[in-house]
Symmetry: C2
Subunit: 398 residues, 2 copies
């Protein structure tokens, strides 16, 4: 089956005059979401009240939607659930990994990882005390930094700034070769590139659903545990909905079978309703097709920008195998340039210190939008249109 991208574009609400190249930060609104959320609020919460936990199937939403996401990331059936935020899930997975490799005390990551993953590891190792350590190497040296002291290799597959993509298969194998576990952050992978967790023999993974999966601001995280570990890991952060019998209200924690033990508290039902509607877009979509379309659009954007904007330096790898679904350029005035672009309807984002990021999302971006965005960027650069006080004053969030 071939995706009809002109049809999928119609499934999103994108404001007139906007070219949205920031789906790698917050996906746009799928048209199906408002009605689905209104139904959950009105017909479920409003009408069924507490009984909706059973009658509307709220309690099982995390596993039901986990199964849909699992298909997009190559996960085994029943190995994915939802809840909390990506940082909380990384904390649970890191603590479980250190418990499984209790004779080791090192978490290895790379300096390009998203800072929150590093902060989580710093908080955890700081709490566990002397000997526990977060070791950080440059992305390109990560394989050499692996040794037999490493308990867990924690990497984000696609770099949030540069878009550089790690080789998941190779690095997971290298981690295992040293007796370490492999934990992958899929924030910029799920819905962006094909992922094969089972085929790569990954141990743990987590990701968010508000970027390429378009589930809305603050949508919950997903978490994957390889079936071979799911029956024996101990998540240090263990709450009642990860208990084998939550409504028995037993005084002692007994983990639920499988990945459901990663659940903690009451799931965010309204956000999950938005996610459910957003995931319907992916029915019948093969990630290989998304990937092929994404690479065509990215190459088109790179070629147009490089031809017209010599001052912008491409920081995303040219080799398609080494990149995700975003294109990033560096410029010392990156912040102001992005503000000038946004003022002209081209929405990407800026990441300190000097990165302009553009997310490529074929479900709602086509060649015409790419060409137009590149043309507007060329105008902004050629005319130094970014060099205005209103674009240089920094807001708190971009």
């Amino acid at each position: 089956m071939t995706i009809d991208f002109s049809a999928t574009r119609a499934l999103f609400e994108i404001p007139e005059g906007v070219i949205y190249l920031d789906g790698n930060s917050l996906g746009p609104l799928p048209r199906a979401v408002p009605a689905r959320v209104a139904r959950t609020i009105g017909a479920e919460w409003g009408e069924m009240l507490i009984t909706a936990w059973n009658r509307a199937g709220w309690m099982d939403l995390p596993e039901r939607l986990g199964a849909r996401i699992g298909r997009l990331i190559g996960a085994e059936p029943g190995s994915v659930t939802l809840g909390d935020t990506l940082s909380v899930k990384v904390f649970q997975l890191l603590s479980a990994a250190l418990d499984m490799r209790c004779e080791r005390r090192v978490i290895l990551s790379d300096s390009g990882n998203f800072p929150s993953d590093l902060y989580v590891a710093q908080g955890l190792t700081g709490m566990l005390g002397p000997g526990y350590e977060l070791r950080v190497a440059p992305p390109e040296e990560i394989e050499d930094a692996l040794d037999d002291s490493v308990a867990v290799l924690m990497l984000t597959e696609v770099d949030y700034r540069t878009g550089r993509r790690h080789d998941m298969r190779r690095l997971t194998r290298a981690a295992h070769h040293h007796g370490a576990l492999a934990l992958w952050d899929l924030a910029h992978s799920a819905g962006a590139v094909p992922v094969d967790l089972a085929g790569c023999n990954v141990d743990f993974a987590a990701g968010c659903t508000y970027k390429y999966l378009n589930a809305g601001p603050g949508a919950p995280a997903f978490v994957y545990v390889a079936p071979r570990h799911a029956g024996r890991i101990r998540p240090a952060l263990s709450g009642w909905l990860g208990h084998a019998a939550p409504f028995a209200f037993e005084p002692q924690y007994r983990p639920a079978p499988g990945v459901a033990r990663m659940r903690v508290g009451t799931p965010p039902v309204i956000q999950l309703a938005a996610l459910e509607a957003a995931l319907e877009l992916w029915e019948g979509v093969e990630m290989a097709e998304i990937r092929a379309a994404s690479l065509v659009l990215a190459d088109r954007f790179i070629a147009a920008v490089e031809a017209a904007c010599p001052a912008l330096r491409l920081v995303t790898p040219r080799d398609p195998a080494q990149r995700g679904s975003q294109v990033s350029f560096a410029h010392p005035e990156g912040y102001a340039i992005m503000q000038a672009l946004i003022a002209r309807g081209v929405i990407g984002d800026f990441r300190a210190p000097d990165i302009l990021r553009f997310g490529i999302t074929p479900l709602y971006i086509g060649a015409a939008e790419i060409d137009r965005a590149a043309a507007i960027l060329a105008e902004v650069m050629a005319g130094r249109l970014w060099d205005a006080p209103e674009y240089r004053a920094r807001a708190r969030v971009t």
Copy 2:
């Protein structure tokens, strides 16, 4: 100012024919919620896209709404924020408390605490290793169980089954007398009874917003840190939005000033929008008035049920000072009795092994509903109407 409860009742959507006595589990839908959520989804997410983080004020929602909740629980300005679930917040607070009292290794709680709090403490002490311990005493013996080995006393103010209320002031003072910190779970307190965190000199507190605060299924938790601690605690679970400069993307975690360091990941904006609308109901409401009305209704319910249903044993303390805003009765057939009640439009809930719970919520329940609920319960008991196969088959969630 006196609350006009007939006016506040009109602010909720409650289905025709239903008497809802389960607001202590999931509050009903405030009429203002659907439009507020629709606006956040359509006009903010849909129209503003990523720029809504600034333009629609999403980033500050946790502190803005935390201030409103702070007023209801006697917190100092700027000492409350929102996010995650109650269990995650308890985990953060317990780990911070153990860090502050690093020469001690005991968490003391009571056997009536909500199991998730106990599971969180078990997971944390299990991870920290030998010597760390969750010690559990019966609720009535908790003061005697305090000694100088206790790092933190963790209690839920109002017991989720019996409705028994601890003396926060006295027990906090007793904890401090032994050099321990006091952490209060306010799940069944916030919006139910007056709470005076500052006046009781409490160190830490957390609670949920989907019960008496009516913010909807899976609404986020709130967390309180006493200002005297907020600048120096280290939450072991530390994410990017608790960083002093989240958008600087620094490699090293630096805690934000104050309670904002308890934030972890991206806040659940859609759930927060529902909470914002739900909190508008509380503007101008004094908790003392809610409390007075709640006690009148509870006493009326107790008197009516005890007069008509001798087989039901009151397990909630008769002394108003010793109870929250729920009334519980025990009966060996409690599960079936509750199902029979629900089938007749009186919605309370059941808690294993034998507790019928009824939440008293003057904002939308008055004397007429109380009388009617008691009359229906009397019919169910007198006619053994609960003794039917359809009421005895247990569903997963009640």
